[in-house]
Symmetry: D2
Subunit: 359 residues, 4 copies
Amino acid sequence: MNSFGVRFSITTFGESHGSAIGCIVDGVPAGLLIDESYIQSEVDRRRPGLTKFATQRKESDTVQILSGVFEGVSTGAPIALVIYNENQKSSDYESIKSLFRPAHADFTYFKKYNIRDYRGGGRSSARETAARVAGAAIAKKLLETFGIKVQSGIFAIGGIEAQNIDFEYAKTSEIFALDRLKEEAQKEAIREAQKDKDSIGGCAYVKILNAPIGLGEPLYEKLDALLGGALMGINGVKAVEIGEGINASKLRGSQNNDQMDKTGFLSNHSGGILGGISTGEDITLKIHFKPTPSIFLNQSTQDTNAEPINFTLKGRHDPCIAIRGSIVAEAMAALVIADTLLLNASATVENLKKIYGNN
Amino acid sequence: MNSFGVRFSITTFGESHGSAIGCIVDGVPAGLLIDESYIQSEVDRRRPGLTKFATQRKESDTVQILSGVFEGVSTGAPIALVIYNENQKSSDYESIKSLFRPAHADFTYFKKYNIRDYRGGGRSSARETAARVAGAAIAKKLLETFGIKVQSGIFAIGGIEAQNIDFEYAKTSEIFALDRLKEEAQKEAIREAQKDKDSIGGCAYVKILNAPIGLGEPLYEKLDALLGGALMGINGVKAVEIGEGINASKLRGSQNNDQMDKTGFLSNHSGGILGGISTGEDITLKIHFKPTPSIFLNQSTQDTNAEPINFTLKGRHDPCIAIRGSIVAEAMAALVIADTLLLNASATVENLKKIYGNN
Amino acid sequence: MNSFGVRFSITTFGESHGSAIGCIVDGVPAGLLIDESYIQSEVDRRRPGLTKFATQRKESDTVQILSGVFEGVSTGAPIALVIYNENQKSSDYESIKSLFRPAHADFTYFKKYNIRDYRGGGRSSARETAARVAGAAIAKKLLETFGIKVQSGIFAIGGIEAQNIDFEYAKTSEIFALDRLKEEAQKEAIREAQKDKDSIGGCAYVKILNAPIGLGEPLYEKLDALLGGALMGINGVKAVEIGEGINASKLRGSQNNDQMDKTGFLSNHSGGILGGISTGEDITLKIHFKPTPSIFLNQSTQDTNAEPINFTLKGRHDPCIAIRGSIVAEAMAALVIADTLLLNASATVENLKKIYGNN
Amino acid sequence: MNSFGVRFSITTFGESHGSAIGCIVDGVPAGLLIDESYIQSEVDRRRPGLTKFATQRKESDTVQILSGVFEGVSTGAPIALVIYNENQKSSDYESIKSLFRPAHADFTYFKKYNIRDYRGGGRSSARETAARVAGAAIAKKLLETFGIKVQSGIFAIGGIEAQNIDFEYAKTSEIFALDRLKEEAQKEAIREAQKDKDSIGGCAYVKILNAPIGLGEPLYEKLDALLGGALMGINGVKAVEIGEGINASKLRGSQNNDQMDKTGFLSNHSGGILGGISTGEDITLKIHFKPTPSIFLNQSTQDTNAEPINFTLKGRHDPCIAIRGSIVAEAMAALVIADTLLLNASATVENLKKIYGNN
């Protein structure tokens, strides 16, 4: 249940305050250049402690490759990646040891497993997503080989939305803002929340360029179903939109249909997916994150004995999980595209003949 | 790729204009009463031709059980359900034989498979969803055994939203409207679109009651990930929201966090899921459908030779796919809950001891 | 749990005395000619009632294609095949309704599911294998496209072994005997058993020709692991051998190693598989079937109330399940090869470039 | 493709001469005592270098737990186990860098992946099985909770078979011999082969005690199919027998059928499995290993340029892989039983009611 993907897959492990997190990337085609520094640079993008808009927890998040690579190239064997945890202050969590932090997974994990691993969320911590990003770096390299690019950034913070989408700018922004003109207002919304010992929600945007036509395997491995599931499974995500998204439910067919002329599609309300299969147009996704559950205001909750309790949280937390979450969303999208790319390879007899020849 | 679910699963087959559609339901625990008339009544809820708000295509959609049931009870063997197609006017599709209908899957299926099965969408037709509803009827019966109820209705049509949620009323409404006071305006929006030879989008709402705490298997079979994927994979769905949904991305933590007192949760912004695991509260979902792609206005597109062409569609189509789509959303939600119910059975050694005893 | 295969898969349903059996074949690449009469001819090979060496139960075993084929060609959609049961004399089973036939699945199914579907074994009946053979006929057609051939026959009956392997002869033999010189002795062994109201065991032999080098996905989808599992799962199989098989455990390395010269392998003790991957040599398998459990001698057993009982079975049964079982073994081998053929398509970046081009 | 198991699964990684091997054990029910020293002791049983009947390669094979355990108890999260490689003399392999060792996976891996990872077999090395044994130690602890015991030993070396089965004695034997009276002859056969610079085949025996009735999920997750696949996938295994095994194919039904009286089964030719489901009797398996491919005699082969070449191997190798292989066979059997134990938990509505209560 800790595996994602059919043919190109990751299996992850690790808790926020255990000794390490990591993943096994399986199904990587042999012959792919595996650039350790690229994997590291991807993981660094979501690393904590880089700006004042992220948690101040310090982790070097150094990725080690344990297997599957020989002389810099993938061998077809599973690639194991491990990141040892460094900054494990379990003591931070002594005070919340026996209570359920609101909007966290404390309550549900305890009830499901009858174990209270109170150290920073344990398995449910967003720290696990560093392993996904590491694995997805390999997916991204594979996609690049075929000219496919996956990009991300922050679309909105607290409802303040970008009017302009600039992925290059986002790379340079402390909050990965897509719109330079909205960035300051978005930052200010975060600062205000921080000042009030509170947190704030946000929306990430992911765009996939140059995906070939044909990705997605109907009916239950549709590209939109896979993306929807992958993104909704990221910590704190409460809604996912593809293409026109929610707005499509308010439109008429004449407004939403993408007509064609001889050059191809005249619009892209579909967000690059029709019938669960990629159209060759840009694939566009909005991913809505709830505000960080960890706030520094007094809250009421229960403890493990079902006794009510009031408490005020301490520690180091992101004021807005959407920011680093956008990197995770990009990672999950890359994993889905890599998987469907491999699955589609055997969609037709014609494809197979290209590989096995014609009898 | 035509299977859905891990432990409780369906595998579906069939095209809109082939000889039959159907599904194999696997993993049904032995000893469940299988009521053929209940399955039929569920399928009837999404049957075409019942009201003027649905396609006028007539199908009796008679479900036959081919296996897995003995003396009215599930045996543990796979249950095969088949619905023979009756109203297969392939001739309806002669005129669109070689062109790609905008916003349909014609283009992508052709490009992926290099085959043009022009008969009403073939495999990509929403007709396949009748098989899901049939299979899900068995899931719903299983859930009922444990007091779990899955309900659905129409939340919005063309942006006209319900203010009140009444699932009992929805059952009696021609458009499954959840709010009797908004129903007429919603109907009128559909009629207006029909009058204009157009179609309209809508939003379905699904609520799951009495799901036990603990459903969902972290990290990649999280309950929200499974629901997100299942619902996003329904024909025409472009966005899925859980609990507070998109709105959560605009709130502060202090507004969105669900605090607790001794009686339990004080609010349900989470929509019944924390950390990917059910909280025991109601699970609430919004599913946004695009407008029906089939409209009767002149549209421009390409044909299979990549030549541009203008055309006007004929035939019988739903003016708003969200209406019958809400039944499919309910079905997919039921399948997810049934699957996670079975998966969770082995989550703890304690659970296993209840079954196998203690050595 | 009723699905077999990862990328090319079958999901089967049906009981011996239910209304139908069948399967959904998923993952069939689009563009394959689907010849209904070929599927029928394959199913006919294992049809009961053809010779006095098979059960006299009469079934026409007529296969119907319900989906996935358009104008004689696979569309990429799942292909559903159904065989309606005709000769359902449940009354034959009245007398054994509440007792567990020795060496049958009656006892274990009852204990597992707490249901006694006494009609001829229900789901555990070998009748289900007709559905596998039907599905495998499509796999065989796919393999043929690439020159791959799967063949079977009877190697031994009651320990009387073939000295010569002639698949062409086997096709004409009533017992699929591979060695014309041993056929009469093998038949006589069966007749003797029948005369004694008894049954007899046997061994089938399967050979796969022209499998390309590279099939099998290490480490847990190795070709030998998949074949081993597929064949051991056939009703009545108690042992599977690959290549040198059991004898390899008695040899020295110098005897068993397949050395090479410039033309390739000098021997084939490996049976065409090294490290779980096909070598390009013939893949050879021996599949050992126990004697038919259904015999007409007095036996002692328990009933569903755990009371001891003596009984003598009546009815129509194969005297030697290995005979028709050899067709099933061939079918399962074909399914495995088809699946690994598809999976291997994405094994290298080089393969993918043949499909997606080079950026 | 490097994952094994459905609900209780392992995903392994690592090459013989990479930096580490390991596995992620997923699906471990929460609340299981995880005894690190027990895992280590299991791994130590197959550790190289312990006797003169095993390779002299020295490895401490120290297992580290990276996740999934809190305060000595499983949390429900995946348990990652890692073993760092210590004795990586890649230089040993310089001389065989570009040639294909007979009966090894060198040829097939090179042809499949177009990569020559010449370091001791890379991924195809039996070294990977240490990770399986580590993961299976957790499975064995789980099984023990329910009184289930998995045992192994050497049945035959070079055709010299045990006449008596004594698992307790096997634990003390340098070659895990099951029969103390045959041990010396078996050892001598190995010594003779070693003296001749050769190797020798052997047969392991596995017995599972106290498996509850009902394990195995028909039809394609049958217990015998799973065991057959799991065991055939072990390095060097060429045949697997269950219960009466090959001999069953020589018997009559009256000889092979297990009759019952009021106390239960009167014999166990079935090897504890009927219809793919456990009967509650002992599950018995024979696993036949080919002789070690690595011998020190001159052999002819090809190199990566398809040029013929004669060579004589150097290095440290097991003279008989069946010996340490028996531990791996035991491990794989334990993994299968653990998986089916979890899967069976939801086989009936009755079981589910024990967990979720009755509405």
